[in-house]
Amino acid sequence: MAKEIGALIKLQIKGGAANPSPPVGPALGAKGVNIMEFCKQFNARTQDKPGKVLPVVITVYTDKSFDFIIKTPPVAIQLLEAAKLKGGSSEPNRKKVASVTWEQVKTIADEKMTDLNAFTIESAMRMVAGTARSMGITVSGTAPWNN
C-alpha cells in the first residue's frame, strides 16, 4: 500500500549546508521527523554543489518517514554565479559591471527549460536574459537569433 502523504514542504537550502535550525528544524521537527537524518542525507546528496541555493521539495509521510527531490538552482542564482565566474568579481552587486555570455545563458536555459515552462530553447534563453537584465547583468555579444 502506498504511504500516506502528511505534508509537502518546499525550501531552498544551500548545498551541503542543511542544519537543524529554522526553517528546516521547525518545518520538519513539528511533523515528528528526525531532522538530523534529513540533514545528513541532503548534505551527502549535494556535495557536488556546495554553497549553491538548491530548491528542495520534501514529502513527509504520516508514518514520519520522508523523501525529497532536489531541483536545479533558480535562474537568478545561476546568473550571479556565472557573472562571478566570468568577471572574477567578488562583488556581484556592482551593477553594470557584471556580464554573462550567451553561451552561459544557454547553459542555464538548457537546464531550466522544464521549470521555466518554455517550449523552445530560444524562449527559455529570452527569459534567462530578461532576468539578467533585471539584475543589472548584461549579456555580452549578439543574441544567437540575431546572427
Binding site: K10, L11, Q12, I13, K14, G16, A17, A18, N19, P20, S21, P22, P23, V24, G25, P26, A27, L28, G29, A30, K31, G32, V33, N34, I35, M36, E37, C39, K40, N43, A44, R45, Q47, P50, V53, P55, K64, P74, V75, A76, I77, L79, L80, P92, N93, K95, G130, T131, S134, M135, G136
Partner: protein, 280 residues
C-alpha cells in the same frame, strides 16, 4: 552554546516570480543559508551572529527602484527543534551486542554494550545507516587499550561505544558547538571516563596521535582533511570513514592512497558506505 536565528519575511508587491529569486541570490551571497518561498514573497534565514543589516540594505538598494518589496525581521530564539522525534524514538539494536536507548526505554542487561542517548539536536543515534555501520565495524575490532579520535562526533555515540570497548584517551571533536555540547552531556550520562569533547576541526589535531580514528562526516570534508587525519595517526593505526555514498567511494579511496593509507575493506547499506583503511 546556542545559536539564535533571524527570519526575514519578504513581501513582494506585483512582482514576477524571478524577483524573489534575485533577492534570494543576493541574500545567499551575504550569509543567509535557507529560504522558504511562499505566495507573497519568501522568508530568509541567517544566524544572528552572521547578520549585518547595513550589508543587507546595501545589497537591496539597487533593486528598490525596479521592484516593490518590504521586509520585517523576527528573532527566532534557539530551541531543540528535534524534540518531538527525540521524545519517542525507537531504540536501536546492533547484532546481539549493542543496545542504544533513551531514558524512556527499559534497560536490557543481556547486551554487553548499552548506550543511553540524549541527542539534543546532534547527529548520531544509531538509526542512520552510517552510524549503524560504523558501530558494526567497531564491534569487530579490538579497541582495548587503543587511543581513539572521533572526528565529527555528533552525539558522541561512537566514542561512547569505543570507551565501553576499552579505548583510552578518547578525543571527540565536532565543528558544531551544539554537537560538542551534546557529546559532553552524553559522556557524563554514560559515565565515560578518560574522554574529552570539544568544538573544533582538523586544526585541533596538531601534535596529537591516535591508534584509531573514526570519521563519519561527508565526502568533501573527508577529502579536504584526510591528510590532517593521517598526520594524527600512530604507525599501524586504523581509520574508519563514513558519511558518503557508494558513488563517492572511488574518490575517497584515491585520496586515501595518495596520503599513504592502505584500503582494507568497505561495507554499504542503502548506498551509504563505511570504509576501513590502515596505516602501514
Amino acid at each position: 552554546m546556542s545559536q539564535n536565528y533571524y527570519e526575514l519575511v519578504f513581501t513582494i508587491v506585483n512582482g514576477e516570480d524571478y524577483v524573489a529569486d534575485i533577492l534570494t541570490a543576493e541574500l545567499a551571497d551575504i550569509g543567509f543559508d535557507t529560504f522558504e518561498p511562499n505566495e507573497l514573497g519568501f522568508r530568509a534565514y541567517i544566524t544572528s551572529s552572521a547578520f549585518d543589516e547595513q550589508e543587507l540594505q546595501a545589497r537591496l538598494e539597487p533593486y528598490k527602484e525596479q521592484f516593490t518589496f518590504g521586509y520585517e525581521i523576527n528573532l527566532i530564539p534557539y530551541k531543540n527543534w528535534n524534540e518531538v522525534w527525540e521524545s519517542n524514538f525507537p531504540p536501536v539494536l546492533i547484532g546481539d551486542r549493542l543496545y542504544i536507548r533513551a531514558d524512556f526505554h527499559e534497560e536490557k542487561p543481556s547486551y554487553p554494550y548499552q548506550i543511553l542517548m540524549h541527542p539534543k539536536m546532534a547527529f548520531g543515534t544509531g538509526h542512520h545507516e552510517t552510524t549503524f555501520q560504523m558501530a558494526e565495524q567497531m564491534l569487530d575490532m579490538d579497541l582495548e587499550g587503543k587511543t581513539l579520535l572521533d572526528m565529527g562526533c555528533g552525539t558522541g555515540i561512537l566514542a561512547i561505544l569505543a570507551s565501553q570497548m576499552g579505548a583510552l584517551s578518547i578525543l571527540a571533536i565536532d565543528n558544531d558547538p551544539i554537537a560538542a555540547e551534546s557529546c559532553a552531556e552524553n559522556f557524563s550520562l554514560n559515565k565515560v571516563k578518560d574522554a574529552e569533547a570539544l568544538c573544533g576541526d582538523v586544526s585541533s589535531l596538531a601534535g596529537k596521535k591516535f591508534d584509531v580514528i573514526l570519521a563519519n562526516i561527508n565526502r568533501n570534508i573527508l577529502l579536504r582533511d584526510m591528510q590532517g587525519y593521517v598526520n594524527a595517526m600512530n604507525p599501524g593505526g586504523t581509520i574508519l570513514f563514513s558519511g558518503f555514498y557508494t558513488e563517492d567511494l572511488d574518490s575517497i579511496r584515491e585520496e586515501a592512497v595518495r596520503v599513504g593509507l592502505k584500503y582494507t575493506s568497505h561495507h554499504s547499506k542503502n548506498n551509504w558506505v563505511v570504509a576501513r583503511f590502515d596505516l602501514a
